[in-house]
Subunit: 129 residues, 4 copies
């Protein structure tokens, strides 16, 4: 379910947060789904429970999951919509990145080409429906 790289510069707890968000965006995790318990996930990933806990607290803070003490952590009903909104605000990041790439002499056409490829790949499943 998760793939952690302990040696990465990115904190482990952040990796868990991001991957959880991606799982929600891809539909692998849906509203109401129960997350693995803090302890079980700690064992599975060979990570300290506190690190998992920190990731879950952050996810809760963002409204992605809801903690029910004594029961577990569950994907929030609004999780998917929240992420869509949040990601929308990342269009700024897109602009900044593109501007830099263009300044570095990368052709607009190349970026468009990549965009087409990615769109085709990402939406394959969606189109079949």
């Amino acid at each position: 379910m998760f793939r952690i790289e302990p040696l990465s510069r990115q904190p482990v707890y952040e990796q868990i947060v991001e991957q959880t968000e991606t799982l929600v965006l891809t539909g692998s995790l849906k509203a109401g789904d129960q997350m693995p318990s803090v302890r079980s996930l700690a064992v599975t990933l060979s990570i300290n429970p506190n690190t998992i806990q920190k990731a879950y607290i952050e996810l809760d803070r963002r409204g992605i999951i809801q903690a029910a003490p004594g029961k577990g952590n569950f994907i929030s009903p609004a999780a998917y919509d929240l992420l869509c909104q949040t990601k929308r605000s990342q269009l700024d990041a897109f602009d900044t990145l593109v501007r830099e790439l263009l300044l570095a002499g990368i052709e607009k056409e190349e970026l468009c080409g990549r965009l087409d490829t990615l769109a085709a790949t990402s939406l394959k499943g969606e189109c079949d429906v």
Copy 2:
């Protein structure tokens, strides 16, 4: 010349490095130009000289500037080309970002539109040549 945010999460020395690189890419700094001295820049920005020094060392390590002991630090002849190559490796970041945005339900068309706008804006000067 530089705009430093001391409270930012990004280390001050990294801000200097990045902004210098951007200045090179935009053409504000050209091969042979002299960088401000460590001490003068430290005074100007109200920053510890060690921090400036660390930034210059990093820029030197990357081949963006060259230190001429006793004279100063100068933009390397190959600076612009080096940066173009480096930025090329950021195409991975572009792919990742685009993939996330598409997952978040943002239309391919919108991204293409933005790309066009940015390209038109960024290349205005270039077209005159």
Copy 3:
């Protein structure tokens, strides 16, 4: 009769205790009234019977209800008076809250206004008597 939010930070059994007390204060539950049986309430609210039991034990401890083994749980004769006394001790909470609100720049007049409105609303039924 009860509205339980399982995902709330407040323990379920505490929610039952508080809502029972409120029902007594509003007059919905009067001395001698029989409470729902542990098992029936557990089914109705889709909650573990142990949780209901814990709530009833707490209510009994506070003197709000009295258990009649084999018969059921009944609102104690002194329930209403007890609650009035208890709530009196919440005047401290009132003081603390008001102090904070004033510090936050909220006008005394606004608080007085709200107080008047609430008094008018809450006591409507009482005046008819």
Copy 4:
């Protein structure tokens, strides 16, 4: 500066958060002021540094302080305004509490009286100016 009660039901880190906010509201801490370092405060209060850290993270999340790694934690420029806004949303809590107190038979007049007293006390300094 802080008064911690380790045996309280309220987590230690929350006590620190709340007391910091109060200090901002009362004007004891102003924008730009430096908070005690994580370690020094830990020693002063005989508390584990991680607990202080957790409190500071929460304060940072709320926008009350800003962390500058390697430098310290500083009161955010917007801290005071943020708290005023936040506290404003606590008017709901005021309404709820007052409603309960009225239900418990406490006279409106008594609450008004207390309100007057508190207002006189809190604003003493302000009036002198």
